[in-house]
């Protein structure tokens, strides 16, 4: 049986891991390479690096951090944030990244999703979507959650799948940082649309939230940051709980 993946996400700014509450109020929480190594040794199924400053301040990507990580960490590594071109993607893959997550650049230029999937394979293209509920549906926000694109989120993820994305990383902006659980309604709707794996993100605060993301939301992987970064929960705790709830995990 395929296992549900637990993915700690390290938001990186200026080469350091930071915590995010609704994308603002950042607190420094450590070195990315050491953290990735720690998580890998403590049950993480994958690691995700997100350069949260890149879209806003046009910062260059984190090739160096990725290289150093690939010397120490032997589980899949996804890198995102400010990725704009096939050249960026190639650079990161060459430095040791396994998957690249694309958000804003794919909204501005859909062809980047298609071209990168064609060139590097769908398996290394993760399409990241930041969605916010407005009235009765969800809208896509770009540029690190600062710009309302007016695009309907569910239409967009369907489009991303058609363009060749290998996975969807779906973040609920309403839930992100609140620790009140994933947006299960959004996840359920996305699960119904998608034939490719869905990574749920935003809002997880306790063990039951993890379970609900899979059992109710239908997610194939669960991404979390602060609950792990500040050791409120350990990945092993989460996995042991999920196993008790009859969700298959790697322990």
């Amino acid at each position: 049986m395929l296992k549900t993946r637990i993915i700690p996400c390290l938001d990186v700014k200026d080469g350091r891991v930071v915590k995010g509450i609704n994308f603002l109020n950042l607190i420094d929480a450590g070195d990315p390479v050491e953290q990735a190594n720690y998580y890998s040794n403590n049950g993480a199924d994958e690691i995700c690096f997100l350069d949260i400053s890149a879209s806003i301040e046009n910062r260059s990507t984190m090739v160096d951090i990725v290289k150093k990580t690939s010397e120490k960490v032997f589980i899949p590594l996804t890198v995102g944030g400010g990725i704009k071109s096939l050249k960026n993607i190639r650079e990161l893959l060459k430095a040791g990244a396994d998957k690249i997550s694309i958000n804003t650049a794919g909204i501005i230029n859909e062809k980047l999703i298609y071209d990168s999937a064609q060139q590097f394979g769908s398996q290394c293209i993760v399409a990241a979507v930041d969605a916010k509920k407005q009235n009765n549906s969800w809208t896509v926000f770009s540029h690190g959650g600062t710009k309302d694109t007016g695009i309907k989120a569910l239409n967009w993820i369907e489009k991303l799948q058609k363009l060749g994305a290998g996975e969807i990383l779906l973040t609920s902006m309403d839930k992100d940082g609140t620790k009140t659980g994933f947006d299960l309604e959004l996840l359920k709707k996305a699960t119904n649309i998608l034939d490719i794996p869905l990574i749920a993100s935003g809002g997880v605060g306790n063990l039951k939230h993890f379970r609900d993301g899979v059992a109710i939301g239908g997610a194939n992987a669960l991404l979390a940051a602060s609950v792990f970064h500040f050791a409120e929960l350990s990945i092993l705790e989460v996995k042991e709980y999920l196993r008790k709830e009859n969700i298959e995990v790697r322990l």
């Binding site: 395929l2 993946r5 032997f74 430095a95 396994d98 398996q123 490719i196």
Partner: protein
């Protein structure tokens, strides 16, 4: 004896991780090893261990490999004639088949009889992405039988192996498919040992010891 590991570079995917994983294994186990990434057939001839990675589409990979002058010749000479230990990873394993039906019909190396087919999509998502178990059904030198073996997979096509004697391990995802094959000095894994934490590194260690 010093090991000379050649990782074949034909322009695709993340092969740095493969190199790093071999270096780590060598370092942790006091195995003297040079681990190079190369697209030079000459280096293949000099190696004691050959690793063929692979990511993306079968046709792209096969074309990439074929585009390097004398590469396939040299690989064949080393692996088939001289019996140099060989490990194919992911699409690098699939290239061992006779034929692939991914986006058309494409010829493979034909070193282990089989065909590459798409995983059936009833009620499962593709790609098959994440950690899954490999049940070892035949004794081999890389992975112990009877242990719980979990590795990281990313693929939508699988190796439909012609002969049972070449099947080392199987994995359940919608169907029970062949995820680990072998024939004499040739090994092929559908999963990524270089991304499968300690269990993956263990497999690499045992391969290095061949």
């Amino acid at each position: 004896m010093i090991k000379n590991v050649a990782i074949v570079d034909y322009g695709l995917g993340n092969i740095l991780s493969t190199q790093q994983s071999f270096l780590k294994v060598a370092n942790d186990n006091n195995i003297k090893a040079n681990v190079i990434i190369t697209n030079q057939p000459r280096k293949i001839a000099e190696s004691t261990h050959i690793v063929l990675p692979g990511q993306g589409a079968f046709e792209t990979c096969m074309r990439g490999l074929s585009s390097i002058p004398y590469m396939i010749n040299e690989l064949t000479k080393s692996v088939i004639n001289n019996k140099t230990p060989f490990l194919g990873i992911c699409v690098g394993m699939q290239l061992l088949a006779n034929i692939s039906y991914e986006n058309g019909e494409h010829k493979g190396l034909g070193w282990i009889d089989g065909q590459i087919k798409k995983l059936p999509t009833n009620n499962i998502k593709l790609p098959h992405m994440g950690w899954n178990e490999v049940e070892i059904i035949n004794n081999n030198k890389l992975v112990e039988k009877g242990k719980l073996n979990e590795y990281y997979f990313v693929h939508s096509y699988f190796f439909d192996c012609e002969y049972k004697k070449n099947i080392i391990g199987e994995t359940d995802y919608g169907i029970n498919f062949t995820s680990f094959i072998s024939k004499e000095n040739i090994y092929g894994v559908q999963f990524h040992p270089e991304k499968s934490s300690n269990q993956g590194l263990e497999l690499i260690k045992n391969f290095l010891k061949l």
